[in-house]
């Protein structure tokens, strides 16, 4: 699941990064920079402050001096990246150490930005990072998971990121971070904090990545003449009807990791695998009585044949393959499958259609959705780096440039924080190689921005994509979410493409151009409509109480306990053990290290105050 999250994350970041953000330029005011005009002319056309932009002869303004920096002597900054061999650089001579982005960075900040290594995939990237840590050769800027950050921080290898951002971060950067703090109820830095200090800045993205949800085959429901079920009992009725007509089908898809458990558990407000607050204490969700009820229900459904009798041998990919064959009536999976395996299903199964099946309400009419809202991975700076603030300067540049066209944001920043954007509002250029790209969609896009106006997101080649590879991106969450809202409205026909922001539009049109684009957009609209109101409702939305690194007791016993849990739950569901096995499981869990772990988790929670 983590991997899918990571993929979705990257996907969305790429989406966000791949195009120019912000709203279309207002026609009044000569903000359109005709080719060849100097930056001064352009800036005179935009917002009136002289402090707005660096003039053509490079004279720094108050804003740029403070939050953007050109180093007098060139400095070196190393990082690492993961770059699949199927991607292409802008030109054959480019590579990770020399391309449009690195050259731009050199010209505008005098930083020699390079990569210590370029791993072929995430797993290798992680491993090489560990090896670099082991041989004391960490790159200056790293991207890592929370357990890695904890390890490196404990060994004193990382710089204090919180302090760096405090000292050098621009108001815009801090504004974006504040949004993330609000969303995560103040726990934004927690997974990457150690001893009260924040050692890494999580990579923020829109909140779609947390959208896992149950789906149901709408066409089959029509066939049965039933509505989309919203309670557990309704689900059961639908399953029974489905199985009568399709005795060989799978009514409720389940994978061998029991991820699909969430659907049923929601109905009992049970949160297995997660830490829950009960009576002022954090307790482990899997040993709570609600879980017992959920398991009982599932065991009953297994007996009735609603689950695949052999679900235990199938992982999520196999389950999706089965769905692609048309054999699955409902299942729980990520939102971005609409761009992946569901397309296979739509192509393969005549008339198939997906609808969102809401997390069901249980016997007492309530429903609980569990998700872990934590941004991951995060980027950190090595303690050995000579210029740790260089990263923050680059981030300042990124946010400023990327969101330059968002008039609302510009106004907010000016009014509330007195921050004038460095980059002027810039007319969005069309791709000049559109024809070639139509023939080969994988080609990079070329634009023709005047040199003075280029910056992150506004480069004249594929380079904006590279920013993500170097870990130099992040979003203003509300803007990113808004974009997806526009796509959803567009899918419903409520908003014409021309009115969308550039990034939203490119997403909308891109998705529409996939082989099953129509289905994809329609289903996405439903997903968005379902999830968007929920995101703000903390009553429904359960957040894992524990987001810290592995504790000592966990090191000793967690893997055993996880195995015990998986075994017990699976056996109960499959009926090889009665539901009473759950009670002995609870006892065993506590006796075999569970109590120690619970104690340590509570210690962490009470000591870790939100930063």
């Amino acid at each position: 699941m983590k991997k899918t999250l990571a993929i979705a994350l990257c996907f969305l970041l790429a989406l966000a990064a791949a195009s120019c953000g912000g709203q279309p330029v207002a026609p009044s005011g000569a903000t359109s920079a005709a080719p060849g005009t100097s930056a001064t002319a352009a800036s005179q056309g935009s917002e009136p402050s002289a402090a707005n932009v660096a003039t053509a002869n490079g004279e720094p303004t108050e804003t740029s001096e403070k939050y953007f920096k050109y180093y007098d002597d060139p400095i070196d900054l190393t990082t690492h990246m993961a770059f699949s061999s199927t991607w292409t650089w802008h030109s054959a001579d480019d590579n990770e150490n020399s391309n449009g982005l690195t050259r731009w960075i050199k010209d505008h900040t005098n930083i020699n930005f390079s990569c210590s290594w370029n791993a072929p995939d995430d797993a290798t990237n992680t491993q090489k990072l560990d090896l670099a840590f082991a041989s004391n050769t960490l790159p200056d800027v790293i991207q890592a998971s929370s357990s890695q950050i904890a390890k490196y921080a404990a060994a004193g290898k990382l710089a204090d990121m919180g302090a760096l951002i405090e000292a050098y971060g621009s108001p815009l950067l801090k504004y974006a971070i504040q949004e993330a703090q609000d969303l995560t109820q103040g726990t934004f830095y927690l997974p990457y904090s150690y001893g009260g200090t924040a050692y890494a800045l999580p990579i923020m993205c829109d909140t779609l990545v947390y959208w896992w949800l149950p789906y149901v085959r709408g066409d089959l429901l029509d066939e049965l003449g039933m509505a989309v079920p919203s309670t557990l009992d309704e689900m059961e009725a639908a399953f029974a009807a489905y199985k009568e007509k399709h005795p060989d089908g799978v009514a409720l898809g389940m994978d061998n990791e029991l991820i699909g458990l969430r659907t049923v558990m929601a109905g009992y407000e049970a949160y297995p695998g997660s830490w829950v607050e009960k009576g002022g204490q954090a307790v482990y969700g899997s040993i709570q009585p609600e879980v017992r009820q959920g398991l009982e229900r599932l065991a009953d459904w297994y007996r009735k044949g609603y689950l695949d009798p052999e679900f235990v041998t199938k992982d999520m990919m196999q389950l999706l393959a089965d769905a692609g064959e048309g054999k699955v009536f409902s299942l729980y999976t990520a939102w971005n499958v609409i761009g992946g395996n569901f397309q296979d299903m739509w192509a393969n199964v005549e008339g198939s259609r997906l609808e969102v099946m809401p997390f069901p309400a249980g016997p007492d009419g309530k429903s609980g959705i569990a998700t872990k809202v934590a941004f991951s991975p995060a980027r950190a700076v090595s303690a050995a780096c000579e210029h740790p603030e260089a990263l923050v300067y680059l981030l300042n540049q990124y946010w400023d440039s990327f969101y330059r066209n968002n008039l609302e944001l510009r106004q907010t920043m000016k009014d509330k924080y007195g921050y004038e954007f460095h980059y002027p509002v810039t007319e969005v250029r069309e791709e000049i190689n559109k024809a070639e790209r139509e023939a080969d969609p994988a080609l990079p896009s070329f634009y023709d921005y005047p040199e003075e106006l280029t910056g992150f997101g506004y480069f004249n080649d594929y380079v904006s994509h590279y920013s993500w590879l170097y870990g130099l991106t992040g979003v203003v969450i509300s803007v990113a979410n808004d974009d997806f809202g526009q796509v959803a409205r567009g899918a419903k026909g409520e908003m014409p493409a021309e009115d969308m922001t550039v990034s939203a539009r490119s997403t909308f049109e891109g998705w529409g151009s996939t082989p099953q684009g129509g289905q994809m957009l329609a289903t996405f609209a439903e997903i968005y409509d379902y999830w968007e109101p929920l995101m703000g409702d903390s009553q429904i939305f359960h957040v894992d109480a524990f987001t810290g690194p592995t504790t000592p007791a966990m090191l000793e016993r967690q893997s055993y306990l996880d195995k015990l849990e998986a075994e017990t739950f699976t056996r109960i569901i499959m009926g090889t053990q009665p539901i009473e096995a759950f009670d002995s499981f609870v006892g065993e869990w506590l006796a075999n290290g569970g109590e120690d772990i619970t104690r340590e988790v509570n210690e962490w929670i009470s000591s870790a105050s939100p930063l």
Binding site: A14, S85, P120, A321, G324, N348, S506, E509
Partner: protein
């Protein structure tokens, strides 16, 4: 070995049939993999492909051959396999021959065997190796893939056993003729051991050709990557990572499964070309110059 009795012929018939059945059991999965590699993503992803490709497309192969690094990686693999196998064989033979002698012919033999056996079994793991490789400057060098495994003690033991089986009187007569150990090894023993040399050579070739992990760890510069490392990295959850929405259309033609299947083809087919050279040594290969007792 000729025996044309009735029972013999019945046995032959059953034997051939049984072996043919076994061969079929081994062949059909390969056909399935090949079919997967030539199928389109929808079919490959929805369990629809059995032994014939569905929606035949060469996308997987196009992606590999079209990758600008492909030729280079192929060349690197060939180089690494050739040189690596050569180094392996040389060191294996050099170690196996003395160890095939009796204890009284090689003083301290037991100690020497112990010296080789211990590190075969006990290893320090990836981290010390990584640190060592970087300290001696082999990082980003093809030799990081060739040297560390150049002396494989398992092969040494196998070769040693083969050498032991060689008729001692041959060696004695050579000594009497005034030959020294080098001559004996290279002029007499080796030509008689071609079956085992071919076998070990085959194992080395396969191991080198298929090895991909070392490349990801020790070679940061992609130009140095061998083919399997390159393929492995192309196979990353590539459908969505970093792909812009407009690229999805093209990527949807290719599935994870069909690409992996193509990978297997790239691992196996080249071996098919090399294999017959080795095979002739151990199928119906009669050792030359055997001596009557």
């Amino acid at each position: 070995m000729k025996d044309n009795s009735m029972s013999s012929r019945i046995f032959d018939a059953f034997n051939c049939a049984f072996l043919a059945f076994l061969a079929l059991l081994c062949f059909m999965p390969m056909v399935h993999v090949m079919a997967l590699s030539l199928s389109d993503s929808v079919s490959a992803n929805t369990n629809a492909v059995l032994f014939l490709p569905k929606g035949a497309n060469f996308e997987a192969y196009k992606m590999v051959f079209g990758n600008p690094k492909f030729l280079r990686a192929f060349g690197v693999s060939v180089f690494r396999t050739a040189v690596g196998t050569g180094a392996n064989l040389l060191l294996t033979i050099l170690a196996a021959y003395p160890l095939s002698k009796e204890a009284n012919q090689l003083r301290g033999r037991t100690l020497i065997v112990g010296y080789f056996i211990i590190p075969m079994m006990i290893s320090g793991g990836l981290i010390p190796m990584f640190i060592l490789i970087s300290k001696i400057g082999l990082m980003d060098s093809i030799w990081a893939l060739i040297l560390p495994g150049a002396c494989n003690v398992g092969y040494v033991i196998m070769m040693m056993n083969f050498f032991r089986g060689i008729n001692k009187s041959l060696l004695e007569s050579a000594v009497i003729d005034g030959a020294n150990e080098f001559v004996i090894l290279f002029r007499i023993v080796l030509p008689m051991s071609m079956a085992s040399v071919a076998t070990i050579a085959l194992f080395c070739v396969v191991a080198h050709w298929n090895e991909w992990f070392g490349g990801t760890i020790y070679l940061n510069a992609r130009d140095l990557w061998p083919l399997q490392t390159l393929l492995k990295t192309m196979m990353v959850q590539l459908d969505l990572t970093g792909m812009r929405p407009d690229e999805i259309a093209r990527i949807k033609l290719l599935s994870d499964r069909s690409f992996r299947a193509a990978q297997v083809m790239f691992a196996t087919v080249p071996i098919l070309f090399v294999y017959p050279f080795a095979q002739k040594y151990f199928i119906k290969g009669v050792t030359l110059g055997s001596v009557k007792e």
